[in-house]
């Protein structure tokens, strides 16, 4: 098949970017989109042009490093699928794919499609953990955890930290990402003890980092490759309001 790649090129954080079109012929439908980008890059390097910079490492949907807008959608057309799991068979012969980086004030573009998501690490630093030092733990089976609680915790813990929820949100809110960690830890007895402080600290950091507010568009849930449900945002809000009320 043939496709045209229309790709955002930007040489660094401060420069203005623009789209450049690359026609691609003889595309194998079983190729992944990133493999097509690899092929294009090889061509560019051999011609002495600057290759396209994009993030992708595991290529199996788990490291969270990939993340691009494809035809205006975070991670592309397949629901709950990371960009690295997209194969060319998901597109039509002759189609033009517009590929650009995730856009958010909190995610400066490094180059081309690669962005700086360190703000997400800082949200976790604000309280996305259990305060336990190595060696302090008691026997793992001492405290029972209901199958249901485990299931819910695991649903939230599955977040891969890609930032698609933020890119898809009209307000660039990080509520799904932040809520996922708060909900994961709150559902488990080990994490619950610190829930009160955690929610205040993480939400404050989220605001300080320049992420917007959640106004229930739920576009985040639709693009999330880990299938995180907006229930986690409700969990976060409930805990947050309880704390604010206390104050």
């Amino acid at each position: 098949m043939k496709v045209t790649l229309k790709i955002w090129r930007q040489s660094d954080k401060n420069s203005k970017g623009q789209f450049v079109e690359y026609p691609m012929e003889d595309v194998d439908k079983d190729m992944s989109l990133f493999e097509l980008l690899d092929t294009l890059n090889e061509r560019l390097v051999l011609k002495g042009e600057r290759p396209i910079v994009y993030d992708s490492d595991c290529r199996e949907g788990i490291c969270g490093q990939c993340g691009i807008m494809i035809n205006g959608e975070a991670h592309g057309p397949l629901m709950n699928t990371s960009a690295c799991h997209l194969h060319m068979r998901s597109f039509n012969d002759g189609e033009r794919l517009t590929i650009e980086p995730f856009r958010s004030a909190a995610f400066p573009v490094r180059q081309d499609l690669s962005i700086d998501r360190s703000a997400m690490d800082r949200i976790i630093q604000a309280g996305g953990y259990v305060s336990v030092d190595t060696g302090q733990a008691s026997d793992a089976n001492q405290e029972r955890i209901s199958h249901h609680a485990y299931d819910e915790a695991m649903n939230a813990a599955a977040c891969i930290g890609c930032g698609a929820c933020i890119a898809a949100c009209p307000n660039a809110s990080a509520a799904l990402f932040t809520g996922a960690k708060i909900s994961h830890l709150h559902r488990l007895p080990q994490g619950q003890i610190e829930s009160d402080d955690r929610v205040i600290n993480m939400v404050t950091t989220m605001d300080d980092e320049g992420f917007g507010n959640c106004s229930n568009h739920a576009t985040c849930e639709a693009v999330c490759p880990a299938g995180i449900s907006i229930k986690v945002i409700a969990d976060m809000n409930k805990l947050y309001l309880k704390q604010i009320g206390k104050g």
């Binding site: 360190s118 008691s138 793992a140 994490g191």
Partner: protein
């Protein structure tokens, strides 16, 4: 060459008391003094993050480096199956000793007893620690932790978090690390690639790291350096590893005097997805747990063109069940992979490239029901469908062996210290516990145990006993020289201006290694392999092309440096495989097999770990760590 292997430092006494003895006698650094010591950790995978967080908690000043944009992206995240621990929660006969024995036997009696015992001994604490961190391991309906069984053992000792065990364990240690960052004990340098170790007289004093955004070369000095850079299976190009996994940290440490243990011992995973075309950049792993219910077969006729559904039972060869009746489809990885390769090479392979075997769920769906299969493997089936566009509920999966795990790595003593004083290696980067073949679910464990439970004792022991013989000026001089050398190397690479990309070299190298130093090896083949690698290396020096910018992002330069190291390491792997006139574990030399085609060890001559070192002129030399089995006796490793 006058290099000697350092002592293995195994403590005296009975096996089960060695670690306690060590802990009771090691030197300590008092709490007030800890912040005076600076420790560098290279890598934020399970090994690196757990070590950095634990040392930070103790009060040391820690700097942690990763080329990733966040610590959470390390490839530990991709492990699906599970992590082993001898908790015996299932009351099915497990114990520390049994786990130790399974691991030693799984490794085909080619690992150090004392280390393996300690791994099993510390396994329980890891589960406790992870649960305390909020790692959501699977629970049964009574609320207790659930377990499953993995290849090569007969008990249920594998803890898991759906199909995302590695991710959840890594997030646990990543969060512990982020906690230390917020407390100020630890600094994480993301997008920094370590390119050299600063040493003086075989003692480590720091590293050179390249900032991947600015290209700046930075010198970081430290009292000790820990390498936790993961495995180098990506040397085969097509592998289950991530695109940027590499051997550079390990290889550059080797060139600075650390030694390599068994570099050619590589595990090929039997259940990865087969290659479908030349564009392919990686092979995705399908969890081994599928082998609990899937049956592996190939058509009994060569080049059978029929669809699998049209091939009747009588024309199917369930070769694992036939050859290994007691373990069947759950035979260990090396054995399953080799058996698959045997069928594929015999002309029985299936799929468009005739490079796969079937993994069939038809019987399981019939006997246990669709709901059961969906519940257990739903996410894996979806993933298979996403990648291949085929429906595994209706037709068998196609799988094939892929380069997966490196048992080989930097040689370390009982303290996990390399031959260079103050340079430690942990996790998949070292050669330690897995011998010639790693058992499933043992390596997440090893990475965690090394970082959480061993380094916090052995590293302070080193620091407390260290005499500061080298003066600051001397160290800085060494650092500057080291930096200059890297700068020159980068210049040289950008100035070749040839016509072949780093990826093209990498793919060719992968093909050479799969062919000559892969699942099975021969002396003849290895000789040819070495010649081919040498030729490719020469071509690399003449024909590489990369963009010339060195003060901004240059992904091609990053790749080229990794490929350069791979080309050098590949030759050593072939030498190592050639030297070993026996088959053991994953290392299969065709000249040494039983009549039934099983690995044939040569214990008289080869009960040793091959330990390689490099002399000043760049030649490799073999030293030996003799394995004296005091507590178990070597037996033939049979899974029939």
């Amino acid at each position: 060459m006058n290099k000697r292997l350092s002592s293995d430092k195994v403590p005296p006494g009975p096996l089960e008391k060695k670690w306690a003895y060590y802990k009771a006698n090691c030197k300590l650094v008092s709490p007030g003094n800890r912040k005076k010591y600076h420790i560098i950790v290279v890598g934020t995978g399970l090994a690196g993050a757990s070590a950095a967080a634990s040392l930070g908690e103790m009060g040391f000043k820690v700097s942690c480096f990763t080329f990733h944009d966040s610590a959470r992206r390390a490839h530990s995240v991709a492990a699906q199956g599970g992590v082993n621990a001898a908790k015996n929660y299932k009351n099915d006969g497990d114990s520390v000793y049994r786990m130790f024995f399974d691991t030693i036997k799984g490794g085909d009696f080619r690992a150090r007893e004392a280390n393996v015992y300690r791994l099993a001994e510390c396994s329980m604490s890891l589960i406790d620690q992870a649960v305390a961190q909020g790692v959501p391991f699977a629970r049964d309906y009574g609320g207790y932790l659930d377990n499953r069984s993995f290849g090569g053992v007969q008990v249920s000792r594998t803890f898991y978090a759906r199909g995302q065990t590695g991710q959840q364990l890594l997030l646990g240690s990543y969060q512990a690390l982020m906690r230390q960052v917020s407390k100020g004990s630890t600094t994480v340098y993301t997008r920094h690639e370590m390119l050299d170790i600063i040493t003086i007289d075989d003692e480590a004093h720091g590293i050179i790291a390249r900032h991947l955004d600015t290209g700046e070369l930075e010198t970081h000095y430290a009292d000790a350096v820990i390498i936790a850079s993961g495995g180098y299976g990506k040397i085969y190009y097509l592998s289950t590893l991530a695109m940027a996994c590499n051997a550079s940290a390990v290889w550059r440490a080797y060139k600075k005097g650390a030694m390599m243990g068994a570099p050619s011992w590589i595990q090929f995973h039997p259940t990865s997805l087969p290659q479908t075309g030349t564009h392919q950049s990686k092979l995705t792993l399908m969890s081994e747990s599928l082998r609990n219910d899937g049956r592996i077969w190939v058509p009994s006729q060569k080049n059978d063109e029929r669809q699998p559904q049209d091939i009747p039972e009588s024309d199917r060869n369930y070769y694992l069940e036939r050859r290994y009746p007691s373990y069947g489809n759950l035979a260990p990885r090396d054995i399953s992979s080799r058996a698959a390769r045997h069928e594929i090479e015999g002309g029985y392979g299936v799929g468009p490239m005739k490079n796969a075997v079937y993994l069939d769920f038809k019987d399981a769906i019939q006997n246990k029901g669709m709901a059961y299969i969906k519940d257990r493997y739903g996410n894996l089936f979806d993933m298979y469908n996403k990648i291949t566009g085929r429906n595994p509920y209706k037709e068998p999966m196609m799988i094939s062996p892929s380069a997966h795990f490196t048992m080989g790595g930097l040689w370390v003593d009982y303290e996990l210290m390399t031959n260079v004083r103050g340079l430690f290696a942990i996790g998949e980067a070292n050669f330690s516990d897995h011998g010639a073949n790693r058992l499933g679910a043992n390596s997440l464990l090893q990475a965690c145990v090394d970082g959480y439970f061993i380094i916090p004792y052995t590293l302070p022991n080193y620091l407390a006993g260290k005499s500061n013989t080298h003066r600051k000026q001397e160290i800085e001089k060494a650092g500057e020289a080291c930096k200059q050398a890297i700068q020159d190397e980068i210049r040289r690479l950008t100035q070749i201006e040839g016509s072949k990309t780093a990826d093209q070299f990498h793919r060719e190298l992968g093909q050479i290694l799969y062919k000559y130093c892969g699942l099975s090896r021969t002396a003849e083949g290895l000789k040819e392999g070495i010649l081919a690698i040498k030729a490719l290396r020469a071509e690399f020096d003449q024909s590489l092309i990369i963009p010339k910018n060195i003060h901004s992002i240059n992904t091609e330069l990053e790749k080229a440096m990794r490929v350069k190291d791979y080309l050098e390491l590949a030759e050593l792997m072939c030498l190592d495989a050639m030297n070993r006139h026996e088959s053991c574990g994953a290392h299969f030399r065709e000249e040494y097999q039983t009549e039934e085609g099983e690995a044939l060890r040569q214990d008289e001559a080869f009960s040793y770990v091959p330990v390689w070192c490099m002399d000043d002129s760049g030649d490799h030399h073999l030293l030996k760590e003799t394995l004296n089995y005091e507590f178990v006796s070597m037996t033939e490793r049979s899974y029939k």
